[in-house]
């Protein structure tokens, strides 16, 4: 058996070995009504028919037909059955990795409810089994698996950074006892970070530390496992996704925290809060929530006091797909913003119908498709421009980076902030 045949067999197992009829249902239901086309920013910004979500589903469905149905096996010429050869694998890579942010907007618009994102993730899983994952994306997964965080930050560097930020916090709140607690057992909250925060963008760590201080919260960070991301979610590599999710699960259990609070990270929230109980096949003995909901809770319970007149500039909100459309965390960030900023304006559309920033689904990490990613960003740039806002807030570090690039490329002249940053700026300390 040659090398490609071996890979192909692994990929086909993804299609033939499944626990229930979900895959079958979603592969066989598309009626080609075309509604999904207008919901996809790749199609909208290019008019290239290959990018229509239904066509991406067809790619996977045609291979399923060829190898997993009677007609396809014996009379492949009758239907739309397609061989899984190298050309098919390359086309799948280009379209399922290179032209989809897994934003789920097409799924929401589908007239009969095909879970298009689910099918695309199955296609990605086939490609991952075949070793076709784009190198730049796999590199981030490897960094997380090998070092414990997706930017390979050594523990000593993390500790030095947090000590440095702790000194800043003490100055900021004018209290020599203010702290960023590390590895404290039995805290009410184990907080997590996106590694890009300690590495390059620590203002959001300082902001959350100030919020925790103001709320008099019992919290801790872990130096062993703090990474909120799970890039194996993007590559659909189940074993790697399990490894990463299990580490955070174990650390929360080891430190005996009551709640695991996920930093502002769209896919990380989805991967740990909504997918991980399935990955690990168990119910979690602790509560998992996002910091977005936690901030809303602090405000509604009066645990932090804000003066929204401090944030004078007009603020708009970008909804991260995994948190909002997929996760259903829609209102808390709006409640927070209404309490933290003088003037808040919505983009059109927003909420569950919002457009992706263009950086989701692992796109930000995939250098291979950079040009296409920034082409899709035209939509977001226009949405932002129309609001007239000077500050764009988004509860996702990945979106923050993409929005910074959009600001630079389309010369929007806006500041991009996390929700914690805008809250921390408005805090009134007792």
């Amino acid at each position: 058996m040659n090398n490609f045949e071996e890979k192909k067999n692994k990929a086909l197992k993804v299609l033939s070995e499944h626990e229930d009829s979900k895959l079958l249902t979603h592969l066989n239901s598309c009626v080609h009504c075309g509604l999904c086309a207008e919901s996809c920013m790749y199609y909208l910004t290019s008019n290239d028919e290959r990018y229509i979500p239904a066509k991406k589903v067809d790619l996977v469905a045609s291979i399923y037909q060829r190898y997993c149905t009677f007609t396809g096996k014996y009379f492949p010429f009758l239907g739309k059955a397609r061989e899984l050869d190298e050309a098919a694998a390359e086309e799948m890579t280009d379209l399922l990795y290179g032209a989809c942010t897994l934003c789920g907007r097409c799924t929401k618009h589908c007239s009969i409810g095909v879970d298009i994102g689910f099918v695309i993730k199955k296609g990605r899983q086939m490609l991952t089994e075949m070793g076709y994952t784009p190198a730049s994306l796999q590199s981030t997964v490897n960094a997380a698996i090998n070092s414990g965080n997706n930017m390979s930050i050594p523990e000593s560097e993390l500790r030095d950074t947090l000590t440095w930020l702790e000194e800043d916090l003490r100055d900021e709140v004018n209290d020599p006892d203010a702290s960023i607690p590390l590895n404290v057992p039995n805290a009410d909250i184990l907080y997590t970070l996106n590694p890009r925060e300690p590495k390059f963008f620590p203002l959001s760590i300082s902001a959350m530390a100030k919020i925790f201080y103001a709320a008099k919260e019992s919290w801790s960070l872990s130096t062993q496992m703090y990474d909120v991301t799970n890039y194996a979610y993007f590559t659909s590599s189940k074993s790697e996704a399990v490894t990463i999710a299990e580490r955070l699960y174990n650390e929360t259990v080891n430190l005996n925290a009551k709640r695991c609070v996920l930093a502002e990270c769209g896919h990380g929230s989805r991967a740990f809060r909504w997918e991980a109980p399935n990955y690990l096949q168990k119910q979690f003995p602790f509560e998992t929530i996002t910091s977005v909901e936690l901030m809303a809770e602090y405000i509604s319970k009066g645990r932090i006091k804000l003066d929204k007149s401090i944030n004078k500039e007009v603020v708009t909100l970008h909804d991260p797909c995994n948190l909002v459309r997929e996760g259903g965390v829609i209102e808390p960030q709006r409640y927070v913003l209404k309490n933290a900023a003088s003037e808040f304006v919505e983009m059109t559309p927003h909420g569950i119908d919002n457009f992706c920033c263009g950086g989701g689904g692992g796109q930000l990490a995939m250098s291979e498709y950079n040009e296409r990613r920034m082409k899709t960003a035209e939509i977001k740039a226009e949405q932002i421009r129309k609001t007239g806002a000077k500050v764009v807030v988004t509860p996702c570090h990945n979106c923050v980076d993409q929005l910074m690039q959009i600001d630079n490329k389309f010369k929007l002249g806006v500041q991009v902030k996390t929700l914690a940053e805008i809250v921390a700026d408005a805090i009134i300390l007792d």
């Binding site: 730049s136 498709y369 990945n398 910074m404 600001d407 630079n408």
Partner: protein
């Protein structure tokens, strides 16, 4: 990628494919491409510490190291490199693109 008539081999994100061919001219041209018309003393201080750290450890430095070594305040670094320390400063310093959400 072509800047001012010079051709560079870069990855899809515009990071230099071979970091060893980096020199000050590369930095100046890459910065210009990002809209930074002139590299000031502060820009160079940041670029030099990034370059030094990369040559010594094979990694981009933590932002803490950049701030503490150069004495430049965090918020000013974001102003000096509007695309941030990774896509902004590290790219101008000729490093490969860092992993993660950057």
């Amino acid at each position: 990628m072509e800047i001012d008539g010079k051709e560079f081999t870069v990855d899809g994100d515009g990071f230099l494919s071979d970091p060893t061919i980096w020199n000050e001219e590369v930095a100046t041209l890459f910065a210009k491409y990002d809209g930074i018309q002139e590299l000031t003393e502060k820009h160079w201080a940041i670029i030099n510490i990034i370059r030094k750290n990369w040559e010594e450890t094979g990694m981009a430095p933590m932002i803490r190291t950049i701030c503490q070594t150069t004495g430049i305040r965090l918020k000013e670094i974001y102003q000096l490199f509007p695309l941030g320390p990774a896509r902004g400063a590290c790219r101008v310093a000729g490093l490969p693109k860092p992993d993660g959400c950057v």
